[in-house]
Symmetry: D2
Subunit: 308 residues, 4 copies
Amino acid sequence: MELTNIETILNDALIHSSKYIDDGNVATYIPELAKADKNLLGASIVTIEGKRYHVGDWHQEFTIQSISKTISLIFALHNLGPEIVFNKVGMEPSGDPFNSIIKLETKKYPSNPYINAGAIAVAGLISERYSFEDYLKLVRLFCGRNSIEVDENVYMSESKTGMLNRSLAYMMNSSGVLEADVEKTLDFYFKMCSVKVNSNDLANYAAILANDGLDLKSGDRLIDNSILKIVKSLMLTCGMYDGSGEFAIRVGMPAKSGVGGGILAFAENKLGICVFGPALDSQGNSIGGYHMLEYLSKELGLHYFSGK
Amino acid sequence: MELTNIETILNDALIHSSKYIDDGNVATYIPELAKADKNLLGASIVTIEGKRYHVGDWHQEFTIQSISKTISLIFALHNLGPEIVFNKVGMEPSGDPFNSIIKLETKKYPSNPYINAGAIAVAGLISERYSFEDYLKLVRLFCGRNSIEVDENVYMSESKTGMLNRSLAYMMNSSGVLEADVEKTLDFYFKMCSVKVNSNDLANYAAILANDGLDLKSGDRLIDNSILKIVKSLMLTCGMYDGSGEFAIRVGMPAKSGVGGGILAFAENKLGICVFGPALDSQGNSIGGYHMLEYLSKELGLHYFSGK
Amino acid sequence: MELTNIETILNDALIHSSKYIDDGNVATYIPELAKADKNLLGASIVTIEGKRYHVGDWHQEFTIQSISKTISLIFALHNLGPEIVFNKVGMEPSGDPFNSIIKLETKKYPSNPYINAGAIAVAGLISERYSFEDYLKLVRLFCGRNSIEVDENVYMSESKTGMLNRSLAYMMNSSGVLEADVEKTLDFYFKMCSVKVNSNDLANYAAILANDGLDLKSGDRLIDNSILKIVKSLMLTCGMYDGSGEFAIRVGMPAKSGVGGGILAFAENKLGICVFGPALDSQGNSIGGYHMLEYLSKELGLHYFSGK
Amino acid sequence: MELTNIETILNDALIHSSKYIDDGNVATYIPELAKADKNLLGASIVTIEGKRYHVGDWHQEFTIQSISKTISLIFALHNLGPEIVFNKVGMEPSGDPFNSIIKLETKKYPSNPYINAGAIAVAGLISERYSFEDYLKLVRLFCGRNSIEVDENVYMSESKTGMLNRSLAYMMNSSGVLEADVEKTLDFYFKMCSVKVNSNDLANYAAILANDGLDLKSGDRLIDNSILKIVKSLMLTCGMYDGSGEFAIRVGMPAKSGVGGGILAFAENKLGICVFGPALDSQGNSIGGYHMLEYLSKELGLHYFSGK
């Protein structure tokens, strides 16, 4: 792939995408997130060779939110193994909104680890055996920045207002899916969602995913391929909430979005991307970010079915 | 990719997979399908260079069933355009069984074109404007065999017993999703599912999908890339009924299965595969075929996240 | 009970209720019903001693619609027995709209005989063994009028447009709940709903229900008490679609409504009532009729918990 | 009504019903309830004239559980009025199990005050403004016994293990249905369910309901008729969980059951009954108690459609 023109295309993508911001809104269900500036927009690209490209508000920190679900899944698969994890959570798209409780009653187990219920179940498995610091080390390793921390204001805000997540957690506790202490699990989950990153951090992590889990410099294996097959395949089928199917068609990259405004995506064996913009569409995905990814996919030929 | 050993690996795959047949059962809800010999098992591979490899009962004809949903979608997208098609059907995994009616009441539109309701909606769009012969020509073109015909016994059997599909169709007719004549639509749908193919036919079609829609010999474009992005991405997210997520992890190829026992899959820019075995697992996928694909994916490195 | 003032109260009820008509609308899903004059309003009361009182458009004929479900249930219970009937249909409020299909997938059997699916299941049991004429004789007997007939225009209109009922019927046929021929069953069902009555006819039938199933003149038993316990108790819990709970509070009489604009109600051991007005509320109940019944219940002390 | 033979019939009812005990099981989801002796069976009848009849283990104390939902509803309607109450909860049978969460997502408001979610919503309204002692006074008044207290062991057990109720409460808090503090609301709810009574206590309350809310001795009005219409009508349509429809047919009395083994029922203007037996059927109703009520209804002619 010809990457010489990435910088130009990134700039064009920013201009193209910024006009969609007006159609979106910042997340309001967590009061602290509602304070975000909806006009922010930025992106970072990191190639598997380690080259970095940035545009717009790429340096702006935001909370990682649901993108963390991919890292906690890696943590759990690595430390506990797939058998323990998939004894508590499924592998299928849910067909319902990310915070839906219905299938917990009709099917008991959460459909997959990227909806809230599934990620809380995984957080329960981790928090019983590991400290949040253990987990945070992995985030820092993947992002390549040791100064990454929790945003205490967002964490407090989520903890105080996350009643629907509490409902999901108590439901799973009631049915035996979540065996860990509910409030301790939620504390881990809210902290995990409140980690502050910028788009360069997540593009670094995305590039490691694109590079088969190998460190970009040393080539050391950071993530087993068997774990990557799970984490990345689930990004294909369930990464963009209940808009995953349309995203697969229009953008064609494995991706995971968060209501903090970030979307992580990657093109296998090529590069990792993180776009950031707090204005969200009706499904909770960054509206500017989505359009940037669609533009980049087309102009850089990143769709997995790009053709000849 | 080194393909010199495909033949050996195909043979090993057959031996490996045949031991799972006992755990499956032939489809019984269509009386004519219940007559199938559950011990049949075979497969064909066609590379994008046109090389062909076969094993087991590859010459055995079976009905294409739901695999036809990908061809009717191509037909509709080509002849009517995506706007008309996606005005009647969504692009998302449904999270429910392939024949579920619940979301037609709660959301009105079928979730995607690969569940029964969605495929019937697409069949309605086609059957209003085109003859079944028009459609059959496309099947023959993709399969590379002009003698392909409808299995009249299966067609009659489906038509006589397909009451749940009737229920889906009348529900959509009632809500305005299906504007075409219901019985005429169902007639098209039942015929389309009853087309008789063998695994070589569908591997040929799969290879064209892998080859960006270009004819394997002439290089002529048979399918637009914009259509392929839709048809192939939906195979990723919705191709294996409500087992699509797990299949993406374990096998890692875009695929579409049918209750006749066939599964079509492909590795982009490499090759197309069709496996065939009438014994089905609890989700309606060929149990032997599934294991063959998993084996082939691993041994030939066909998973889209195979790693380095 | 003092009944000397029924006539006055009936007149007051008409005046009181007519002002709600503007808030309602005639049924539109059956084209022939959409032609009704929404300003019609009338009622009849027949006491168990056989006294008759009328007001407004009581002589106006309308189609019986869902009120017929109580008569077909009596017919089925009398001729086939409760075991055969309740092998196919439940006894519980559904919690869903009268035409919902969801529980047919999740629970298989229709919740009760007064939702459409349940009434179609009962119609299937009858139509396999009895002619429509047999059933019509019972309607005439209960209404005390031999000239009662099917409205052919409504019947043709329902038959041509009743796609959602077709969907329900094919779903039940598919699952084995409806073993009879689907189209023959629907023909019986559509005819049964299209029987033309006036409010005097149905008030006569209601009075027989109030009179423990005994003929008002001869005292001959027309309906067994064991059947009445079923038919009348189901009117309490499921008679007013998904507004049955509120109706029980506000009006407090066993009742059954139909989208033709009729509502039948009775006060045990006292009298039968039929109100009629084609303007319906959002739940499909006659809006003027509902208010008449509430007024009559209060002024005549007909609520089963009227107090002292 | 001839009541001279009540004593004999009560004794026969006990003998008849005790043989069904083996088919039931004590509630196990609250550990403390699982300790109950499943062979206990007893009943009390109190006529509106104040005559009392007892049989079997009528003196045995048990926790009131869901029967309390009728008293908390009376308390809320009396002190807050119907507008405030029915702004938070519906009046319709839910068609789902008593502890289901699904409709809270699809419809937001709990279907009625007798399912757990609805009763928790009502408990929230009360606990914001009144102390538990205020409520307990009403229970003592209706039961005619001042020594009624909370069973601390059951209360602690429910509070510690009631995770599904927590899930329901947090879900409603998240959607704005439950505005009160969640844990304080649940504390009130768990206490309210843990009040210890015997069948004589509840038969006294049932007789007051049968007597139009008037004190049995003084004739003083204890409950407004407008409130009784609501509380009693809801017992008809929703009192026996998702077995309310069948109970209305087979027994034909307004009733409310609790998983502690009690069922309260009454015959309007005649008498109140409480049966007690901890062995429950699959819907959570006392299996021996249900059969006693069916027997008593038949032998004493208590069905509201008893006939002539």
